[in-house]
Amino acid sequence: MSLAIDIRRLRFRYGGGPWVLDIPELTLERGERAFLFGPSGSGKTTLLGVLAGVLEANEGEVTVLGEDLASLSSAQRDAFRAQHIGYVFQMFNLIPYLSVLDNIALPARMDPARRARLDGAGVKETAALLADHLQIGDLLKKPVTELSVGQQQRVAACRALIGAPELIVADEPTSSLDFDRREAFLELLFQECERAGATLVFVSHDRTLEGMFSRRISLPDVNKAVL
């Protein structure tokens, strides 16, 4: 039960296309900060989709936080994702018609279990606290369209972190930031993951950041589907 991610003989392809993922084994301890890297097309985003339960493995076992995803229905996987996983995209993370606060609060409103983990504090208060931690506390009332890219990514991080999910998945969240901001963003993200005791899977093709992580995984090395 100490494994956050346990992948065995995973194979995945889109429809009847070529295999995109063929991973004999990949495990990640709870609380680890993993840096998953590989060139474009090496299946990074697809792997994250499988881990998040949005994509269903064709073969093999994918156990996330002790839950065998193949044994769940797609609705159960949606609920599982809502409850246990925080997700940060590369860019365009925010729903344009919601305020910063509403964007952050979204997972907590989507899922009762996630709401229950707010430790008795209200959704708004928790969102405001997280925003303070990530130094965007003064932006809560702003429309998201007025934020800079860096601010947007922090809002996305807050949303991923609210309700303390056990697994944070970040898909190149820093690639649209300049170098100094990348480090600052990562520092904040680490800090919050630590506070929540969350496992972090961080995907990037840019290896300049890998020194900051406790674990480095080269996807081309583990994914046999990449030639």
């Binding site: 998040a52 949005v54 994702r81 995209f89 365009f92």
Partner: protein
């Protein structure tokens, strides 16, 4: 609740296209309900115009025509009946009462009706209401005139004013009986029927203004009669009536009486039962009404299709949004319900807006329609027909919402968390 909140905020975010869509649905719904309202109102207005009259008798011709010119002040009478014939029928044992009408003249676009005290005594409208006077008295002298409520208010006439009658029926007559002005002695209460838009004189008055017109043309210059001369003549002999209303002593005799009138050999004449003639008229109009209704239903469908197009085309730029919703744990069914809900909201807003628009238009248009056409379209709270229409529009919006929703569903499944092109 979350999905509802998202749907509303998303629609508000696209305020311009949302308001265009809602506006076009509202217009089409207003057309649908408006047409229905006018149709029902028109029928009601027509059938409320006359009540308790068993037969309308006039010269042979079209039954609907007789009904239109006698009761509704529309179209022109063809021939008259002689006074003697009228009297013969008025004294028929099966006839309880009659109201004679002499038609064919007008005053500034309002029909002039020559009648007698029987009109005030026996005429009934809307469930048996009798004619009442707002002021003055019923006209009884040769040059007395009683005005319908609208005539008095629109022309600004009061008791004692003088009124000239125009030969023929039309807004602007060029043959005026202006040698013999009438004096207003009474103004009728408003009835919301064509009675309000008529000018009532005596049958003697009609005879008097036509002295010298026996051949249908105005008298030669110098031969015109004057009011004083007519008054000096004493008793005026009534020679003809255009039509008359009949109340039967016993309702069971009506059909027999009608047949007797139709078979009368003295002169060509006919009797119609108002309700039946009205039904005949509705049947004739029914095809046009059905056609109109089909057209308005299609207009509503076009409005809803506009909504469909607008939602569908917005989907591509919303793929990111769907991927984000998926990432925070929204299942594909939530994506579907979001889009269906947006569609329902648009349709419902359009339907309610359309209903409101109908009431705005009705209250603004009611006096205009009454003045122009003489129809009083009542304003009522929405009835079962309106609710049925609104329900149908919202249901159609709900069903149509599945088209973009299923497209979004497939895209969401296909995209997963990344937007694939």
């Amino acid at each position: 609740m979350l999905v509802f909140d998202l749907a509303l905020k998303s629609l508000r975010n696209r305020a311009f296209s949302t308001s265009l869509t809602v506006g076009s649905i509202a217009l089409s719904v207003a057309l649908l309900i408006g047409v229905e309202n006018v149709r029902v109102g028109m029928r009601e207005s027509f059938s409320n115009t006359i009540s308790q009259t068993d037969l309308i008798v006039g010269a042979k011709g079209g039954t609907i025509q007789l009904l239109l010119y006698s009761v509704f002040g529309m179209g022109s009478p063809t021939n008259n009946l002689t006074w003697d014939t009228y009297r013969e029928w008025a004294e028929h044992p099966a006839v309880e009462w009659t109201i004679p009408y002499g038609l064919g003249d007008s005053h500034r676009g309002f029909r002039v009706i020559g009648t007698n005290e029987d009109f005030y005594r026996h005429y009934r409208y809307r469930g048996g209401q009798a004619i009442a006077l707002a002021e003055g008295r019923p006209g009884s002298g040769v040059f007395d005139v009683t005005l319908g409520a609208d005539v008095a208010s629109e022309l600004g006439y009061g008791l004692g004013d003088e009124v000239a009658v125009t030969h023929g029926i039309g807004e602007v007559g060029f043959l005026n009986h202006d040698q013999m002005p009438f004096t207003v002695v009474g103004i009728l209460d408003k009835t919301f029927t064509p009675v309000d838009r008529a000018v009532y004189v005596t049958l003697e008055g009609i005879e008097a203004i036509h002295f010298g017109w026996e051949d249908g043309a105005p008298p030669m210059p110098g031969e015109e009669q004057t009011r004083e001369a007519v008054l000096a003549m004493g008793e005026i002999e009534i020679t003809q009536v255009t039509s008359f209303f009949v109340g039967a002593t016993n309702r069971r005799d009506v059909l027999r009486l009608q047949r007797e009138v139709n078979d009368y050999e003295g002169e060509p004449m006919m009797a119609v039962i108002p309700g039946l003639a009205l039904n005949e008229m509705w049947q004739g109009i029914g095809y046009a009404e059905t056609g109109l209704r089909v057209v308005t239903i299609f207009v509503v469908l076009v409005g809803l299709l506009g909504m469909l197009v607008s939602l569908y085309t917005s989907l591509n730029e919303r793929r990111r949004e769907m991927a984000i919703l998926r990432a925070v744990g929204a299942g594909p069914n939530r994506i579907v319900s979001l889009l269906v809900l947006e569609s329902v909201c648009l349709a419902a807003a359009g339907a309610i807006g359309g209903l409101a628009l109908v009431y705005v238009l009705l209250s603004a248009g009611q006096p205009i329609v009454e003045a122009q056409v003489g129809l009083f379209i009542p304003i009522r709270p929405p009835g079962s027909i309106e609710l049925l229409f609104l329900g149908a529009v919202v249901t159609a919006g709900f069903l149509m919402g599945f088209v973009p929703a299923l497209k979004a569903y497939r895209t969401a499944l296909h995209d997963g968390l990344a937007v694939r092109v």
